[in-house]
């Protein structure tokens, strides 16, 4: 019984974390872009005169979208048209499951890993879910019965394939360095120190892979600068024929994917839940200084570190989204196939050579 409770608690934490963060991103996007552009941003939605810096706007948006007319085009495939937004959101939500948000803790003799699902192929699981998410997009584009939506879905598929290839190839280096496909093992491996002072984060051991992964990850969220599938502002994307909350769910899926890619980047490259020099019994600084801490505080610090790292990554991705213009379709393809992919292969080769010279993976 207790096991079931713990499992539900783990899943609930991740679920609420991702859902709430995804919902909040609508506010973050508005406010951050406004401040970047010397504006104030949406601040009018209020409850009893309380405005709270426009925090109620996502709520107002959701209410508006729910109250809008659901329109289905006459030529749409009834079942797939209805299913597509759910597929998109579902895989966006489940992708986060194997990303660890804290270490394995021991409570009352039980080992509790702080992640929703413990999988020894966690990395592959996240990729599988991210890739399946594009099926919702393609379904939406095809089942709308609109040729422009179909073209948008095709652009999404092409972009997704070229991004997935680069994502998959770029993290091989990380897997080689930490010797595991289990996200928890990778996060734990990043707690070690290089030369006694430098945290062995993926950012340090695999800087090229970090850049490649982040670029391909942003491409897989289908947001600017890689928003060729949507092209909300002028061309027509895959969700033209959707209205109301169904269109809202496609937008929501984009935000969820942003959260997932930020979580992946954190887990693979920014040390996951690791705080530098913080071990299970407190801080061990390189000079030999030691600062003892109760275990509960250490776990709290580590979970907070994960949340903060994810937030910083989301901030950075928003920054890029509001800075760059869109890559043209052929530029995005060229970048994926002739830029990211060969560089990822190069990264694998160089990593292999370095590992061979220094004596195998760290594990």
């Amino acid at each position: 019984m207790a096991d079931v409770g713990i499992a539900i608690g783990r899943v609930a934490f991740v679920m609420l974390f991702v859902l709430n963060l995804g919902g909040l991103l609508g506010w973050v996007e508005r406010k951050q872009s406004a401040i970047m552009q010397d504006r104030i941003g949406a601040n009018r939605a209020s409850i009893f005169g309380l405005r709270v810096m426009g925090l109620f706007h996502p709520l107002a948006d959701a209410l508006k979208l729910l109250a809008k007319e659901e329109f289905r085009p006459a030529h749409a495939d009834r079942f797939l048209y209805w299913l597509a937004p759910f597929v998109s959101v579902f895989f966006g939500l489940t992708a986060f499951a194997s990303i660890p948000f804290g270490p394995v803790i021991e409570v009352g003799g039980r080992q509790i890993p702080l992640q929703a699902v413990t999988l020894n192929v966690g990395v592959l699981y996240v990729f599988a879910m991210l890739s399946l998410g594009v099926y919702g997009v393609m379904m939406g584009g095809w089942s709308s019965g609109n040729n422009f939506a179909l073209l948008g879905g095709q652009r999404a598929a092409a972009l997704m394939i070229s991004a997935e290839i680069a994502i998959g190839a770029s993290i091989i280096g990380v897997i080689m360095v930490y010797g595991s496909l289990d996200m928890m093992e990778i996060a734990r491996g990043q707690g070690e120190l290089l030369w006694g002072w430098l945290p062995k984060w993926g950012l340090v051991t695999q800087p090229l892979a970090f850049v490649l992964f982040l670029t391909a990850g942003i491409a897989s969220t289908k947001r600017i600068p890689f928003d060729t599938p949507e092209c909300e502002s002028e061309i027509i994307g895959y969700f033209v024929e959707y209205s109301g909350m169904k269109a809202g769910m496609f937008m929501m899926a984009d935000f969820l994917e942003t959260v997932v890619v930020a979580g992946m980047t954190t887990a693979l490259f920014l040390g996951g839940w690791q705080v530098p020099y913080l071990a299970a019994d407190g801080f061990h600084f390189p000079g030999g200084a030691h600062l003892g801490m109760p275990a509960a505080l250490v776990v709290f610090l580590q979970v907070m570190a994960f949340v903060i790292k994810v937030s910083v990554m989301i901030f950075f991705m928003m920054l890029i989204r509001w800075t760059l213009p869109r890559f043209r379709y052929d530029q995005a393809m060229r970048l994926g196939w002739l830029g990211l992919f060969p560089l990822s292969i190069l990264n694998i080769v160089v990593t292999g050579l370095v590992l061979l010279a220094t004596g195998g993976p760290a594990s």
């Binding site: 951050q32 406004a34 401040i35 010397d38 920054l319 890029i320 800075t323």
Partner: protein
Amino acid sequence: MPTAQRFYLREVLDGVALTAGHFFRNMGRHIAHAFGRPVKGAVTIQYPEERRPYSPRLRTLHRLVRREDGSPRCVACMMCETVCPAHCIYIVAEEHPNPEIEKMPARFDIDLGKCVFCGYCVEACPEDAIRMDTGILEFSTYDRRSMVYTKETLLALEPADPDGRPRSLIPIPPSRAV
């Protein structure tokens, strides 16, 4: 494209540095503003509550100038009605009780739905009886008939402050009053 630009990385970082600079500078100003310092993090003017001062030359909603006794200065010469390119002024003249003054308007309607705010009526008026200096710009209505402003409404309006701030309330035509 030069080879260096083909990698995009340098350009992306330059752009991100620029926008991030704006973000952090404005964020610092917003925080200072929240603590009562006189700096602003945004150039936004929060419109209905805050307004930019209008130029005194700006042509805004018309008003009819009053004599000392409150009657209109207008002598119903029809100059403005004649010059109006939009044909939006409609005047009916009547006898003035004072024999020194020939006529006065019985009706003086301006259809603001047609008015193009050219200001010719103000320039044509020999008596300086019509002016466009109320500073009022927001007179939207739900139907076209309410856009017709009558003599009484126009006579009641006051000129704007020197900085262009309207002194009269936005007149609500009878059909719009709730």
